[in-house]
């Protein structure tokens, strides 16, 4: 399970099945190869040729190792990170030696001890460099920093919502004490969720329950003006997502899409699984001249950043305005998350 809860002393090994990690390894190693080519060559014209030669060596090894590490990811993450690092460097070196011998067998390389030692040192150094890069990167997103960012997001619940909700509850106490009780309980749940530790992934079902609670409270204030359509298709019940990913988006949708209109408005939320991806679409009516720009972009950036912390390049968030089928302007937010079975 990808998590950003890390022990600062020894950041865990990267998730070798994460597309972003693979891409970083591919690019990083090739950059090193390019640098090596530049060092070896006399002029810039020669560099390209050298790099092509090197790449022909590096690429098969790189792909082989990526496949091996992806296969061993769960084993590697279970053992101590320091031992894991040694294992990764060791496997790289062994695979480099095996590959060299394979080339020799095919007649592409003359083999011999000096060449063997050179390959061992180069492969080991490259693997070490990449691991060092990943641990630096993990440290850069270290708990303190990540937590500060997550806390900043937590504070994003609008004071506007809090005070309006309290006001609505106060109005109920005399006429409908039972409903007032329920609403206060729901508010308490909401704030408990908001003040929780935000670093771990939570089941999607919990996030949806939280959103429903939030919408219940808003419904009290806005009455029939707020209409929400949920569509949940084939979503694994135990799928885990970053906490408070959806609620701020719904809050935005209510603030910018429902409140500025005196009429009924509909927010549509759709979850659908598409192979290994979970697609979440959120649509709300859109009003010209509403003050959406600033606050909204901040919330979107916050969520985008948290998705990056949890999933690297494998998750994305897009937002755009669109004219719907009935000619009305709609604001759409689309989130795509990796959706693996959660046994890992």
């Amino acid at each position: 399970m990808p998590s950003i809860k890390q022990n600062p002393a020894a950041p865990p090994l990267p998730d070798f099945r994460n597309f972003g990690v693979m891409l970083r390894i591919l690019l990083g190693v090739n950059l090193l190869a390019l640098a090596a080519a530049l060092v070896q060559s006399a002029g810039i014209n020669e560099t390209v040729g050298r790099y092509v030669d090197l790449a022909a060596w590096v690429q098969p090894l790189l792909l082989l190792d990526l496949a091996v590490f992806a296969g061993l990811r769960d084993v590697l993450r279970r053992i101590d990170p320091q031992i894991g690092r040694v294992v990764v460097v060791g496997l790289t070196v062994i695979s480099a030696v095996v590959l060299l011998d394979f080339w020799r067998f095919l007649g592409f390389d003359e083999g011999g001890w000096p060449r063997m030692v050179r390959v061992v040192v180069l492969a080991g150094a490259t693997a070490g460099t990449m691991l060092f890069y990943f641990s630096l990167r993990a440290r850069a997103f270290s708990p303190a920093l990540a937590e500060a960012r997550l806390q900043a997001l937590t504070a994003r619940i609008r004071p506007h919502f809090l005070f309006n909700s309290l006001n609505a509850v106060l109005s109920l106490i005399r006429t409908d004490p039972r409903r007032a009780e329920n609403t206060l309980e729901e508010l308490a749940e909401l704030f408990r969720a908001l003040m929780r530790d935000h670093r771990d992934l939570l089941p999607l079902a919990d996030e949806i329950a939280l959103c429903r609670q939030y919408l219940d409270v808003e419904k009290l204030r806005l009455g029939d003006r707020l209409n929400v359509e949920w569509e949940i298709v084939d979503v694994p019940a135990d799928l885990k997502v970053p906490p408070l990913m959806l609620q701020p988006l719904l809050e935005n949708a209510v603030y910018h899409g429902i409140e500025p209109s005196g009429d009924m408005g509909t927010i549509r939320v759709r979850f659908a699984r598409n192979g290994d991806e979970l697609h979440i679409d959120l649509a709300n009516p859109c009003f010209q001249g509403s003050d959406r720009q600033h606050g909204n972009r901040m919330a979107l950036n916050n969520i985008r950043e948290r998705l990056a912390l949890h999933y690297d390049l494998e998750a994305r968030l897009e937002a755009r305005e669109e004219t719907g089928a009935d000619g009305r302007r709609e604001y759409l937010v689309k989130i795509v998350l990796p959706c693996r079975s959660s046994k890992s």
Binding site: H160, L166, N167, L172, R221, E259, D291
Partner: protein, 257 residues
């Protein structure tokens, strides 16, 4: 006890629970500040209608409302024959609260407390209304409506309906697809406030950008206005001055491209 004559009150808020809460509180403080809620309105337009039918002493106005915000409503109400005293109510709006403090405009924060409400109502009896200039300063962005008097009524004209604005000797005329309205405004101020919506064609004419459908040469040998703008839904052709023509032309080009 400072009980004076009964204050009549109108509550303007788009959220029903918020209106109910104010109603409860007003009933609670009735002994201290005699008052009677004579109406409730869910938005600015309904509030104007309600006040025309029944003038009141005090209007409690929520700031963030759909269609027309509370500040704009207060500006329009200022033009009524018997304008009510206004107490603004807001849940949370950092900007508005700061501006109120700066201009010493009285306001209440939600959830409103009975004592604060009583104090605000007491004060309202004696204080002078907030000046139109201060209200204009509090407004964020452009108004959604313009207002004018006609035979004792306050008419609200939705800005998107206005095709053009034309200054005559004393008044500004606003033209919609159906009719004209006489406004007590200055064309320069309107141009500033609605610069996104209107473009100046002539010293005395602003036209809605989205209403312009084309231009044609003026057949008459008139020195000042060689070109005329054609607007949708109205037969009139509006003069484009020589000075404004380059700007208007470049705008039209951007439009057609």
């Amino acid at each position: 006890m400072m009980a004076g004559p009964t204050l009549s009150v109108l509550i303007v808020d788009d959220e029903a629970p918020a209106r109910a809460r104010l109603r409860d509180l007003l009933a609670d403080i009735a002994a201290e500040v005699p008052n009677a809620v004579v109406g409730e309105a869910a938005d600015g337009l309904l509030a104007v209608r309600a006040l025309e039918a029944h003038p009141v002493d005090v209007a409690l106005i929520d700031i963030r409302m759909p269609r027309m915000d509370g500040i704009e409503l207060a500006r329009h109400l200022g033009r009524l024959e018997h304008p009510p005293a206004i107490v603004f109510v807001t849940a949370y709006d950092g900007y508005a609260v700061q501006a109120f403090e700066l201009n010493a405009v009285d306001y209440l924060v939600k959830p409103v407390r009975a004592q604060r409400l009583a104090a605000a109502l007491q004060k309202v009896r004696h204080s002078r209304p907030v000046s139109p200039e201060v209200l204009a300063g509090l407004q964020q962005g452009a108004r959604s409506h313009l207002s004018c008097h006609e035979r004792g009524r306050l008419l609200l004209i939705p800005v998107p309906d206005i095709l053009y604005l034309r200054a005559d000797l004393k008044y500004v005329t606003a033209r919609t697809a159906n009719r004209e309205f006489l406004l007590d405004e200055s064309l320069t101020h309107l141009e500033e406030e609605f610069s996104e919506r209107f473009i100046r064609l002539h010293r005395s004419v602003l036209a809605a950008k989205d209403a312009i459908v084309g231009f044609e040469k003026n057949a008459a040998e008139d020195a000042e206005t060689q070109w005329q703008a054609l607007l949708r839904n109205v037969p009139e052709k509006l003069p484009v001055s020589r000075r404004q023509w380059p700007l208007v032309k470049s705008y039209a080009k951007r439009l057609s491209s």
